[in-house]
Subunit: 210 residues, 3 copies
Amino acid sequence: MTIFNAFDFISLIDLLGTFAFAVSGIKLASRQRMDWFGAYIIGLVTAIGGGTVRDVLLDTDLFWIEDPTYLTTTAVALVTAIIFNKRLFRLGRTLFIFDTIGLGLFTVVGIEKSLEVGLPFWACIGMGAVTGSVGGVIRDILINEVPLLFRQDIYALACIAGGLVYFGLFQLNCSPMVIGLISAFTVIFIRLVAVKYHIHLPTLKTMGEE
Amino acid sequence: MTIFNAFDFISLIDLLGTFAFAVSGIKLASRQRMDWFGAYIIGLVTAIGGGTVRDVLLDTDLFWIEDPTYLTTTAVALVTAIIFNKRLFRLGRTLFIFDTIGLGLFTVVGIEKSLEVGLPFWACIGMGAVTGSVGGVIRDILINEVPLLFRQDIYALACIAGGLVYFGLFQLNCSPMVIGLISAFTVIFIRLVAVKYHIHLPTLKTMGEE
Amino acid sequence: MTIFNAFDFISLIDLLGTFAFAVSGIKLASRQRMDWFGAYIIGLVTAIGGGTVRDVLLDTDLFWIEDPTYLTTTAVALVTAIIFNKRLFRLGRTLFIFDTIGLGLFTVVGIEKSLEVGLPFWACIGMGAVTGSVGGVIRDILINEVPLLFRQDIYALACIAGGLVYFGLFQLNCSPMVIGLISAFTVIFIRLVAVKYHIHLPTLKTMGEE
């Protein structure tokens, strides 16, 4: 695969991941009987929220500020949702795969952007998890629910596991491409396995009233 | 009108808009039976939240950080609300006019600040809408309701329409004053018409449970 | 007390305050039956959220980005909560003291960081209150409740009173150490007295339906 193709491939994953993230937001918005504009904004925030918070925390330029692709991809997601509605929903499994692949990619992008800024490795791992999961948290705040993240933990934990693998391979001097691919794959693998086998962390026992 | 008067005029609109935004926050806080301090903070966040998020995203100085006017205007709004209470509420139509004029002004200010930073035009339009509407979104999150924005769409759409008019006139090389005035007027006009005739976008059909 | 010891003392208060803030988040998370990871994140956000928002608004480096102490302290808080559970809760009064002392310290740190950036004094006072109280606000948003801050006002008002004392002493040319200590003590004293004697601001009367 030439470098040109590698870039194409990453852009394609980025697009599919953005699309899947946006659809997850639009779907939740539809349950709240929001109008088209509200659904668009919820979809957009789900897709770009994590990277935006990361860029604000890193004090770097917003990744979408020169590139309208994310806005148009979200618009395509909305139009698809309006036209196909329940048929789009029946693609649940396919969207879940896109979403999970996007999660892997977004995590690696978040780690690499943090490395460039010179953060220590544990902060890079945190920023990878922020990139992957904060969009969904903002989505849940906007539709006024307790964020799913705090109940469906493996999501962000998969990002953290991918981050640990990243820095393990980094120590071993692997090539950037190899590190990125294996880390993203780790995120994807852990999430798929966790969802398939209903693996989750224990619940914290109630500590009583105040 | 001399430049001096123009500035005075804009400052006056800014004050009235800030006052109306703050009152909208304080009114919602009063329904939650908040105390004076809580109501003040909700009012302040409604008034300055949109511009603050814009300035954080643009990575520019916060517009209120050298100018206590916004804090004092919110304080005046709170005192007015405490003293006049329901009589202030009966001014609903007047406050709505202030609020809408403020929305037009805030949108134009948001676009112009983004232009100065060198953003592409579609991002400037987005920042105009952020400036006008995100304060209300944060207000609704704080009082734990699904943001009105996602149900009462024409609010942010009016900002976007005003932004499109802005860049249309910009292409035609109109003077900055003319561009600003007509764009702000567009926002105001669309919102007034949409509210008067109950115009709204279609609701997205529920896409089913997951 | 030598300077070395003074630093040690401040670090110790910082640790205890962080621990108490984290526990307050973890306790609320436990009532929502969150899992361990969710509880950890809520605890962490409660502990570092105020300072993070302050640093984003000031456009300075995030205070925790080079120092993993806050992450590990929150981890210790979580492990303690898992192991001791209700026995930790029975320490309510002790935790309250830690939390209040932490509030005093965080407020002063927020004011001093803002002074360094050159903000006017009223903005420094605001940033002190942001540092002390915004973590709890984000915590309450994440667990989907109306922030306690808006009902339990004396919390943020104590920060503001401490800030006023800070600038009063600043005018009198007191030494930085004295200013810091007395201001922090003011915050602590006001909060303790307000809680003990159930002092609170009046509630705003409902301003009617729209």
